[in-house]
Symmetry: D2
Subunit: 357 residues, 4 copies
C-alpha cells in the first residue's frame, strides 16, 4: 500500500540507498508486450548518477536484472520484477551523520516516525529509490509505444532563470536536459558558480504528453489530474505542480476557457485535461523542485539526543535535483497514463462487447 | 475505487447536480467519536450556494440526512451515510445546452468517455458534488478536534491581486473568505466589475494545518504531500498546488533548508513536510483555482454532431469558484490528516503493544 | 475499505437493521447499460422477509430508491446509489436484549471491538444488510445478461437431509428455493417441526454459473476461486464453501483430473476453475450455512457487566437462513463475475488495441 | 493488485517456477520488530521440496536473500524484500509439455487468458510461488510472537482416511505433518501405495490459531472469516474451507449456538469467529486440498492447436500437496492475523488517544 503506486498497472518499490539492492515489482502489465531490455537500460542510464559533473559522482552502473514476468522476450501478464544491486555501497564511515538530522532531509521525520532509521545515504528516503520508478516507467513506455503516445520533458527553469522557449528534442540530449541551447549555456555557468559556493539550486521541469486518447481519467477521485499530481508530488524534492497555463488562476473565464471549432480545441490553457479527463490535447504540466538539501556549508541542526550541532556534509551530491528528476517525472507520467488506459478500457459497455462477444 | 478517497478513513461520494440527491458514505470512522450534527450543518452552510451575491444563486437548503453509523449520538465504527436531497432540481429547460459542449466544462470529455452524459447542470462533474466532501470533512474535523488539530483556509489572491497578509480568523467570517479586510474591499469591487462584464475570475486559496503530530505520511507513494496533492487537485477547477514557500524552486539550498535548534525548526520553507512526513511545523499549501468556466458571453464551441455553434449560457454561477472552493480545501485536508493518523498509528511495534498488551 | 467489495465493480454498503435506511453505492458500472428497475425490485422481493412462514415476519416493503447514476434509463458510468428506507423500525422495547449478548450472534464481538453497539435488531450485523448486496447483484446481473451469463442457486440440504437431484428452474419458484419437488415437501415438514420446537436449522446452498468466458480470475491473489470464497464467506451465517466436486480431497489424481478431448473438458470436478481462472465449464460451488442463531428457547449467556443471564428471545426470525441466503449467494457471485470480466478485459495487449487503435 | 495480499500488512509476490528467482516484497511491517533470519530459513525449510520421499525431489536450497527493510537486525518500517534464486532451473527439455495442456493444471486457462505462457514447470502457477508466501508468513510470525499468538497446523485427512485425534505438537515434527502417530503410519503406507500406482492423493489440513485478541476482523467485507477464506483458497490445490464445527450446517440452532458463562464461551462451534470478528476462542479452520494433478499415467488432453493428445508426464512431484500445503496455510493465516491486528488497532477513538495524546 505505502510503497505501491497505481490501480491496475501497479508497481511496488523496495530498497535503501546503501542496502543490498533496490528494485521494483510491476503488476498488471498486459500479456504480449514486446520487452525491450536495452530500452530499459537506456532509461536507467538517463537517470544514472555519475554521468557528468552535473550529477552526484556516486558511481553506479545501475544494471537492471529482470527476475520474472518475461518469457521468450514478451510479457506474460505475471509480475515483472527488476532488481538493481547496489555496487557502490562501500561501508564508508557514517559516524558524522549517524546521530544528526541533516537540514532539508528526511532524517528527523523518519527517526521520529519509526524510532529507527537506516542513516546510510538517506536509506529509503534517498533519491536512489527513483531508479526503481524509472524501471517501472520504462516498461510503461514500452506499452505506450504501441499506441504512439509520447512522453517528454525538459528543464525549463534553474535558479529562478526561466527558458523562453522549449525544444523537447534538444532537451533530450542536453547534458542538463535544458529546454534550449542558449539557456543551457547560461545555466551551466550558474550551476558551476553554485558548486564553487558549495551551494545548490532549485528548478522547474516541464512535462508534455502527446497523442493521449480522449477519455483517460476516472472522476471524481481518480481523475487524470489528481493522480498525475500524486505521482509527481511523490518524487523527491518536488514542492508543487501546475497543469496547463500557469497563469490560469490570474485569468478571467473569457481568457482561460478553451473554445472549440470543428478542428477541435482552439487553445490549450487546460493542459489537456477537462473535468479530470483527457481531452485529446497535449497534457502539459510544470513541476517545481526545491534545491538539493545536501550542501557543503556549515548548517545548524540537532542530534537525536536534542543537542544542538553544526552539520558539515561531505560527499557526492547533485548540484540540482531537477535535472535527473526530469527523467523520474517522465517515468511516473508514463505509469499514470498506462494505468488510466487500463481503467478507461472498461468504462463503456460497448468496449466490453468488443472483447467478450 | 473511482469515487472513493482515502485508505482507512475512506469516503465514497455519489450523485448528480440535478439528480435526486448527492451523498457520501464514510467508512473507517473510529467508534466512540461524539457526533456534532449542528457542526455538520454549519460546515455545509459555509459551502452552500445562494448565501450572497458572490456565489451562485441556486437555492439549496443543503440539509444533511444522516442515515447510518451513529447511535446515541456517537459513531459506532460502521459506515456513516449522509444524503442531501436536491430540492432545487426543477425540470428546467436544458435544450440549449443538451447537445453542446460548454467551453471550460467537462461536457466534451464526459461525452467522449462514456458515450452518454447527464447534461442537467453538469451532472456528476458539477461542483455540487463537493457538498458531499464537505460532509466527509466535517466528520473528520470532529475527530481532529479531539487532538486539537486545526485546519483553516483563506482566499489570498483573486484576479491576480494578492493579499499581503493573511488573517485566518478574519477570513473565516469574511463574506468572500478574504485573507484580510483591506483586500476584501478591493476584491469585492473587482468581482462586482467582473460580474457586470459577464465574466469570471480565478484565485488562490491558502491552507494551514496546525498542531499536526510529527510522523504523518507513509513513504514512498502515500506521502503526506502527494496524497494532499491528490486530494486538493481532485477539487473542481484546481490547476496547481504548492507546499511551503512558493519560491523554493528559485532558492538555493542554503536559503531553502530549514535549520534546527533545540527549540525545533528555525524556519518553515518546507511547509511542515519533510520526506513526505509531517515534521510538526504548520502545514501550508497554496491551491490555484482557474476562473469559473461558466460565463455569460458568447463563446465558440461544437455540438455532439461536430457542428460549430455559439454557446450562450444563462443561469446561476459563482463569479469565482476559489471562494467556496476554500471550504472544500479544508474538508479534503481534514480527511487526509485523519487518514494519515490512522495509518501512522501502527507503524511502530511499540504502538501496537500499547493497544494489545 | 471495510464495507466495500470488488476491485473495479466495487460496491459499498451502509446502514443498520433498525436505523433510518440501508443502502449501497455501486462504483465502476460501465456506461450504457440498460437499467431495469423492475428487475431490481424483483430481486429484492426474492430476498425480502415476510413473504411466507419460512422467513421472518418482519414486514419490509424493501422499495429501492435509485438516487444517482442513471440517466434516461441508462447507466452513465457514475456511481449508482440505491437506498432502502427502513419502514418497520418502530421503536420497540429492546430493554431485554440491550445489555446482553445473544448466543450465536455478533453482540459480544461488536461490543468488545467497538465499545459501543447499536443493539436494535442486530444493528449493522443484521442480515438486513444483505438487501443492499442484492441490489448490487441485481445491477451486476443486468450487465451479465448482455453476455448471456446465467447465475442460479438452489437449496440442496436442510437439517442434514440432502437433495439427490438439483433442478435450478424448480428452485427458482419454490417457496423455500428447494432443489426439487420431493425434497421440498420433506423439508417443509422438517422446518415446521423445528419451528414448533422453537429451534432453527442449518443448510446448504448450491450455486451454478453458466456461460462464463474462459480467462476470468487474476492469479495469484485475486483468483476467481479465492475472491468467490471471500464474497460468499462474507454472507451472514456462512461457515464453509467448496468449489467443484465436494469429494475432490478424497479422490486420487487420476479420478479427480478433468481430462480433455476436442469437445472440451470431459468432466468438471474442478467446478469450472483451474489455477484460479475460469475454464469455460459451469462454475459450481456449495455454501454451508449454520442454523439461525435466534431461537426461542432459554439460553445461557452473560451481560455487558459480566453477569450470567438467561436469554429469552422473542420476535421474528427466519427458521433457516440458508433459504433467503441463496438469493444473496447469487448476488455476490454476480458482482464477482462482473468484476472479473472488467479486470480480465485488459490482460492482453491485443484487447487494448481493439479499444484504442 | 493481482499479486498482492493484505490491506496494511501487504505482500506482493513474483517469479516463475523455472525463471531466475521467486520473491516477495512485504509492505506495512511495523518498525522495531526483531528480525530472526534463522527462523525465516527454518520456515522455508519446512515447506522446501526434496526433503523426503513425500515431497517432490526437486532440489532447491531455498536460501532467502533479504534485500531491504532491515537495519541492525530490526525492521525499519520500509518494505522487506526477500528473494530466492532458482538454482535447479536447468534448461531441461520441455518439448513434451510445451504445447499441451496437462489435466488438472492451469496450462489451459493461462494460455487462453494471456495468449502466452511460461510452460517451464508450470511457470507462475507452480506451487513454487508458495515459498514466497512462507517468507511473508515468517515475518508475520515474528510479529505475532511479540503478542504470544500461536499458529499451528496438522494434516488430518489423506485419501479419505481421517485422523480421530489431533496433536499439533506431534504434527509439527511428523515427516508428513500427520495429526498423530497412529494415523501417520497408516497414511505413509497409503502414500507409498499411491506412488507405486503412479497416482496421487487429496487431503485435509486443520489450522488452529490461539491467543487471538477479541475484536479482529472488519465487518462487512473484510471480516476475519471471509479474508481468511480468501487467503486459504488462494493456495494452490485448495477447493474448500470450513470454519469451526464442520457439522454446523447439519445442526439445529440449539446445538450449534455457543452459550456463555462468566468464564467465557462454553463451546466453540463458531471456530472463534462471530459476525466476522474474533471472539477470543481458538480459531479453527479445515482446508480441503485436491490431489496433486501431476500423475504418471497416460491422460487424455488436447494441444494448443486443438488436437487430441495423450499426456505422459515425467519428473518430480509431491504425491500429496496437502502436506507441504499445511506450511503455506500457516503462513497465509499469520499474514491475515497481523493485518487484522493493524486494522483493528484504530477502530476505537480511545486507541488513537493512547497513541497521540
Amino acid at each position: 500500500m505505502f510503497n505501491s503506486f497505481g490501480a491496475i498497472y501497479k508497481f511496488t518499490t523496495f530498497g535503501e540507498s546503501h542496502g543490498m539492492a533496490i528494485g521494483v515489482v510491476i503488476d498488471g502489465v498486459p500479456a504480449g508486450v514486446e520487452f525491450d531490455y536495452s530500452f530499459l537500460e537506456n532509461e536507467l542510464k538517463r537517470r544514472r548518477p555519475g554521468a557528468n559533473r552535473f550529477s552526484t559522482q556516486r558511481k553506479e552502473s545501475d544494471t537492471p536484472e529482470v527476475l520474472s514476468g518475461i518469457f521468450e522476450n514478451k510479457t506474460t501478464g505475471t509480475p515483472i520484477s527488476i532488481v538493481i544491486f547496489n555496487k557502490d555501497q562501500k561501508s564508508k564511515d557514517y559516524s558524522n551523520i549517524k546521530d544528526i538530522f541533516r537540514p532539508g532531509h528526511a532524517d528527523y521525520t523518519y527517526y521520529q516516525k519509526y524510532g529507527i532509521r537506516d542513516y546510510r545515504g538517506g536509506g529509503r528516503s534517498s533519491a536512489r529509490e527513483t531508479a526503481a520508478r524509472v524501471a517501472a516507467g520504462a516498461v510503461a513506455k514500452m506499452i505506450l509505444k504501441e499506441f504512439n503516445i509520447k512522453i517528454e520533458s525538459a528543464v525549463i527553469e534553474i535558479g529562478g532563470i526561466r527558458a523562453d522557449k522549449i525544444d523537447y528534442n534538444y532537451a533530450k540530449d542536453s547534458i542538463i536536459y535544458a529546454a534550449n541551447k542558449d539557456i543551457e549555456k547560461e545555466w551551466i555557468e550558474l550551476i558551476d558558480k553554485s558548486k564553487q559556493e558549495h551551494n545548490s539550486l532549485g528548478g522547474v521541469v516541464k512535462l508534455r504528453i502527446q497523442n493521449v486518447p480522449v477519455g483517460l481519467g476516472e472522476p471524481i477521485y481518480y481523475k487524470l489530474d489528481n493522480i498525475l499530481a500524486s505521482a509527481l508530488m511523490s518524487i523527491n524534492a518536488t514542492k508543487g505542480i501546475y497543469i496547463g497555463n500557469i497563469n490560469s488562476h490570474k485569468l478571467t473565464g473569457k481568457e482561460n476557457n478553451d473554445e472549440m471549432n470543428k478542428d477541435g480545441f482552439i487553445s490549450n490553457n487546460a493542459g489537456g485535461i477537462l473535468g479530470g479527463i483527457s481531452n485529446g490535447e497535449d497534457i502539459e504540466v510544470e513541476i517545481y523542485f526545491k534545491p538539493t538539501p545536501s550542501i557543503f556549508q556549515p548548517q545548524k541542526s540537532i542530534d537525536i539526543y536534542g543537542n544542538e550541532v553544526e552539520v558539515n556534509l561531505q560527499g557526492r551530491h547533485d548540484p540540482i535535483v531537477a535535472i535527473r528528476g526530469s527523467v523520474v517525472v517522465e517515468a511516473m507520467a508514463a505509469c499514470v497514463v498506462v494505468d488510466m488506459m487500463l481503467l478507461n478500457a472498461t468504462r463503456k459497455i460497448e468496449n466490453l462487447k468488443k472483447i467478450y462477444l
